[in-house]
Symmetry: C2
Subunit: 189 residues, 2 copies
């Protein structure tokens, strides 16, 4: 048997979300997640440090993807356009096929102060990485930090709209719409 | 002797910051803070739940002040103007005489992941409270949340500038300047 079981990571993710939703995050153990996914606990720990990491494991890839997209934006792109373009492309590549998963995940996170804290930390790390990427393409401070903070504010707002019941637009469309909302808010201020 | 000792709260705050700065946050005990302030540990616990709360005790008053200022903004004020006006007034009332304290406090917070997490949680709670205050004066969603997020992004950026070594402008001036930076970023996007 190979050390990495094909599909195990995805099955563990689905099993964890099912169990967190059915019986609560706190009450779910790694042993239960592994059993539901049909793998051993040892296999679980090949992919995730603990049960919390099942919910946040994608954050690092997302950060790398966004940083790469910001770094690769045309020289002519304004800082907020570089951020908006990166978020829209990441939405199309990563999120838009996973709305059901994202809704379940958000509902689990909202159920636990510990998980909400972890999410805030991940978003703060993402903000710092985006500011660094903007500085790398020549944006000075404080504009780089402010553009990164504003971009993440747009992303958070668009994401909250996207996971709300009944929303039918894609995350990419909501990011575009929320950047337009920011422009409108600033235009009247 | 009265149950509330005059000045004890302020002395405890100064003593805690001194000790955190001298010997580190983790290594400082409540007993040491109380001794440095010339009060008993029991007196410490009349004012603060634990040593971490010495650093965050002002957050609730700040939130109440800002929410009151947003709610009391003129009906004609645009959402971001209501937020900007509240932040500028709070800066003048609360922060501008306390730059030395704020710098020391920030340096302690930056030294500890636990404290940074706590600060992110407080800022998230402040953002939610400001969005609620905007909804209370008629701003619809998602504009209310987006204006609150953007306003807190401006505040974080201005605050980081204000506590940086060598900065001589007041926090209020930096908030005004950072809102102008946001307008400039959005105008070219």
């Amino acid at each position: 048997m190979s050390r990495w079981e094909p599909g195990a990571r995805g099955r563990l993710g689905s099993a964890a979300l099912e169990l967190f939703t059915e019986q609560g995050y706190e009450r779910t153990t790694v042993a239960e997640i592994a059993a539901r996914a049909g793998v051993t606990e040892r296999t679980f720990f090949r992919y995730f440090a603990d049960k919390r990491e099942v919910l946040f494991a994608g954050g690092h890839e997302l950060e790398e993807l966004l940083v790469g997209l910001v770094a690769g934006a045309p020289d002519s792109a304004a800082p907020l356009d570089a951020i908006a373009g990166a978020l829209e492309q990441a939405a199309a590549e990563v999120f838009d096929e996973r709305q059901f998963f994202a809704r379940q995940r958000q509902s689990v996170i909202n159920s636990s102060p510990d998980l909400r804290e972890r999410e805030l930390l991940k978003l703060a790390a993402l903000t710092a990485a985006l500011a660094e990427a903007l500085r790398g393409r020549g944006t000075a401070e404080p504009s780089a930090s402010l553009a990164a903070e504003s971009g993440v504010a747009v992303f958070k707002t668009a994401f909250a709209r996207w996971v709300a019941e009944g929303e039918t637009r894609s995350l990419g469309e909501l990011i575009t719409a929320t950047f337009a909302d920011l422009k409108a808010l600033v235009a009247v201020a």
